[in-house]
């Protein structure tokens, strides 16, 4: 099975406290640690396991810049066979549809049976997988937490729905799946693994390589545009307990007693 997994380099949610930059045009990127989008690691792990069992290869692709090279290498250190960087100034400012359009062109250059994305990334939109599927006219399933190969024409997939229940579907290949966290346990990548792939050649493709007209993607084509980041005026929020830890604990215990929090 030939599998393409779409990945993204994002500010690491675990390592950073994300704040609005001084002029509101972006988040404050001065001390940001980047990594692979959490969901994508689960997608790559699932792809590797499928290929281990059924043969084929895993290609990881990203729309990014030179710095995105590091995440492709990380996923290759996990076990992905190939990397592909889609990079062009013309891609800057793309909205979700633009990114999906770029990925679609890349997908069509290969011969993939299965395309995976993470269920969502840093902006919480969760849109690229579904858009890519529609552009390719492939069936789609989102929030997938189980993949089982039925035969060479179809998969059985579980979707995680409300309440932790699972919706089982049969889906024809080729198809697009967006992968939910928890589907597997993504393998650990050590320094050794990264070193092994450090000098592997990762091809890069731009708009003309993909046969994309400059105005089909990027800022000019985007119909959804972020204006700014801001700090909303909210209600009062929590009553903050202050003082030294001892005082805070005493106050908290009083409150807990009053609210029935201590038995």
């Amino acid at each position: 099975m030939e599998i393409l997994v779409c990945v993204k380099r994002v500010p690491d949610n675990e390592e950073n406290e994300i704040e609005v930059s001084a002029d509101g045009s972006d988040i404050d990127r001065s001390d940001i640690v980047y990594s692979v989008n959490e969901w994508d690691n689960y997608a790559v792990e699932e792809a590797i396991q499928l290929v281990d069992e059924h043969g084929g290869s895993v290609t990881v692709v990203t729309v990014g810049d030179d710095e995105s090279d590091e995440i492709l290498r990380r996923e290759m250190a996990m076990g992905a066979n190939n990397g592909l960087l889609l990079k062009d100034d013309a891609f800057n400012g793309s909205d979700g549809k633009g990114i999906s359009t770029i990925l679609k062109s890349a997908a069509e250059k290969g011969n993939y049976d299965l395309i995976m994305t993470g269920a969502q990334a840093d902006d919480g939109a969760g849109q690229v997988g579904g858009m890519l599927a529609a552009l390719l006219d492939y069936p789609y399933a989102s929030l997938v937490n189980k993949v089982e190969v039925m035969d060479d024409k179809k998969l059985k997939v579980g979707r995680e729905i409300e309440g932790g229940n699972q919706e089982l579907n049969e889906i024809d290949l080729p198809c697009v799946l967006s992968i939910q966290t928890g589907i597997n346990e993504p393998r650990y990548v050590g320094i050794r693994g990264i070193r092994k792939v450090a000098s592997v050649d990762i091809p890069s493709m731009g708009a003309s390589d993909l046969g994309l007209a400059g105005d089909a993607v990027g800022d000019g084509a985007a119909k959804v545009k972020k204006v700014d980041y801001f700090v909303p005026e909210l209600g009062e929020g929590a009553e903050m307990l202050e003082g030294d830890t001892d005082e805070i604990i005493d106050k908290l215990i009083e409150l807990l007693k009053a609210k029935g929090g201590l038995k």
């Binding site: 994300i18 840093d122 966290t181 801001f230 409150l255």
Partner: protein, 323 residues
């Protein structure tokens, strides 16, 4: 202004809780608009639900087809594509169904898509002004969406409160089942596998000590267990703790986990994402301990404490034990 539609999720014989939230969302786009509800299904209580919707929506479109018995997003997308005008503005709830349906629907409609919208600031010409959040609610953004060729807008559930005085729209139901067209798809629904039942039922707990990613390590779970024991509480958690297999899935609070109704909820190292908070009902007293003073949870909790939970929890446990 283009026509506004609200897709009503109809499942297991009832309309989803968010059904009337979508009208309120639509009113923030266009205060005077008549919003058309769209309900898909197959026989059963479909007519009852359509009539219920007609009490709040001026017009209700019914699409009745065997293939729509279970809301499989791939099938629903085809039906909507055949029934709705491409330049309409279609509001859909941003839940596991809306996430499945909408991005592809916008592509097929040739319209624009915006996910997980938390507010609207009206329309300026052909620009719909939207507010959404990024990074799990840590930052908020203004987004401009060009709606000149229509739009599919996913609205965060639980944000737009339904108007309690509803029920007097006197709307009519139009049967468009005949327009649904060919509904065969490459994805077929098989069955639902119910979530496993765990050793404790946190939906019955009165007090919960709930741990999030701030617990940092599997070995630290016992720090929370000790606090819970001292308080007479149960331990619950956010999703990343279950993803790492540090606690059982049955202890996960949130939209894709359990819905809890405790008296007191202690959120320990939890950032406050909407999927997590969506599982907390009944307005409990929420205490949040987080080392980041800007964590979104502090907007949602009753009491906030900026501390490292790994230091704070053992001290709190000691004090309670010594009482």
């Amino acid at each position: 202004m283009a026509q506004l539609f609200a897709y009503i999720t109809y499942k297991d014989g009832v309309a989803d809780d968010s059904a009337l939230e979508l009208i309120e969302a639509a009113k923030k786009i266009d205060a005077g608009a008549d919003v058309t509800a769209v309900v898909t299904g197959s026989g059963g209580d479909l007519d009852t639900v359509c009539n219920e919707m007609a009490a709040s929506y001026k017009e209700v479109i019914k699409i009745d087809n065997e293939a729509l018995a279970y809301p499989n997003a791939e099938v629903v997308r085809k039906a909507l594509l055949n029934v709705l005008p491409a330049d309409g503005i279609i509001l859909i709830t941003h839940d596991t169904f809306g996430m499945d349906l909408s991005p592809g629907l916008s592509i097929k409609m040739g319209s624009t898509f915006v996910a997980d919208v938390v507010d609207f600031e009206g329309v300026d010409g052909s620009t719909l002004k939207i507010i959404r959040q990024e990074y799990g609610g840590q930052v908020t953004t203004h987004v401009n969406c060009d709606i000149s060729a229509g739009a599919v807008i996913n609205v965060r559930p639980g944000v737009f409160q339904p108007d309690e005085s509803k029920g007097a729209a006197g709307g009519s139901v139009t049967d468009k089942s005949g327009d649904a067209g060919d509904l065969t798809t490459g994805r077929r629904f098989l069955e639902i596998v119910e979530a496993e039942v765990g050793d404790v039922d946190i939906t019955k707990s009165e007090v919960l000590v709930s741990v999030g990613r701030g617990i940092e390590d599997e070995d630290n779970i016992e720090v929370a267990e000790e606090l819970a024991e001292a308080m007479g509480a149960d331990v619950s958690c956010s999703r990343p703790i279950v993803d790492q297999k540090w606690l059982e899935k049955s202890r996960q609070v949130g939209t894709s986990g359990q819905t809890v109704k405790p008296k007191v909820y202690m959120a320990m190292g939890i950032s406050g994402s909407f999927q997590h908070m969506g599982g907390i009902k009944g307005a409990p007293f929420i205490v949040a301990v987080n080392k980041n003073p800007k964590a979104p949870i502090f907007q949602l909790a009753d009491v906030g404490i900026v501390e490292d939970i790994l230091d704070f929890m053992p001290e709190l446990t000691e004090k309670i034990k010594g009482m």
